[in-house]
Symmetry: C2
Subunit: 157 residues, 2 copies
């Protein structure tokens, strides 16, 4: 199989490159449209959607639908991508302020394992987003409130 993804076009390169440069962000089609236009390479929306679809099929990027307004997001980091580690952890999205938190936590991986073993359901962390309210918006910032995490976890925005 030499299905390496068809032709190598300027547009494809630019899109992938932008996603690669921001591996920790979830990027919308609108953002790509905007950024690429600003950088002097305007591009039809259709092209962006078509390329993102292909990149997704090639496993280089991942598609999320975590926007409230029904707009999808994409993130670099697929099976073939080394830099991306977001497929290993879960995402928390605050419904108040909209911030996206990446959560590396063995606890959560355990859960995925449990659900898989006992329920036969394979959870895809890369598609799954926990909705809720973050510490900042709740007013109970952990850390500012004395105690530190002592668990395996590691979170960052």
């Amino acid at each position: 199989m030499q299905r390496k993804g068809g032709y190598q076009t300027k547009q494809k390169t630019l899109i992938l490159s932008y996603l690669e440069t921001h591996p920790d962000r979830h990027i919308t089609a609108a953002e790509l449209l905007h950024v690429l236009t600003e950088n002097g390479t305007p591009m039809g929306a259709a092209t962006i959607y078509r390329q993102l679809e292909k990149l997704e099929q090639e496993g280089l990027v991942r598609r999320y639908s975590l926007d409230d307004r029904g707009s999808a997001c994409w993130q670099y980091g697929g099976a073939e991508a080394k830099a991306g580690t977001c497929h290993l952890h879960f995402h928390l999205k605050c419904t108040e302020c909209g911030s996206l938190i990446h959560l590396d936590c063995d606890h959560l991986r355990e859960i995925a394992h449990h659900v898989e073993e006992d329920h036969g359901f394979f959870i895809d962390p890369s598609r799954t987003v926990f909705y809720g309210i973050c510490a900042k918006c709740r007013g109970t910032e952990p850390g500012a409130e004395a105690e530190q995490h002592d668990c395996c976890c590691h979170s960052h925005e």
Copy 2:
């Protein structure tokens, strides 16, 4: 506060009634539009969206955005609704066949607790959906494959 939800109109009653009749389903605006029209009570889309928004604010229904195509769903069962227990558990959605699985599991509740305690993030189970692939679609049906669940969990479609 007598904010019981403004006027009691035929449309509001019909919408709530349909949701009440299917407490275990996630219903889209399009489905409501279709069903109500078929039942001889056509209704403007705007009315449906406006009513759903109000019902949500009243806490009688819950809004999800689990459709791939960016269309939202609603489900009966809020704080004031006795019949609804879906706010207590998590939902698994199969990205292959689209089936929605309700998962009652102490394990998962523990997780929510853990994330809240150690990360300060309050997970809203009613908005959170796990995406993945169900046993049926993976071909490894638990049960048909010998072992039974022996954990606390209980799942149903």
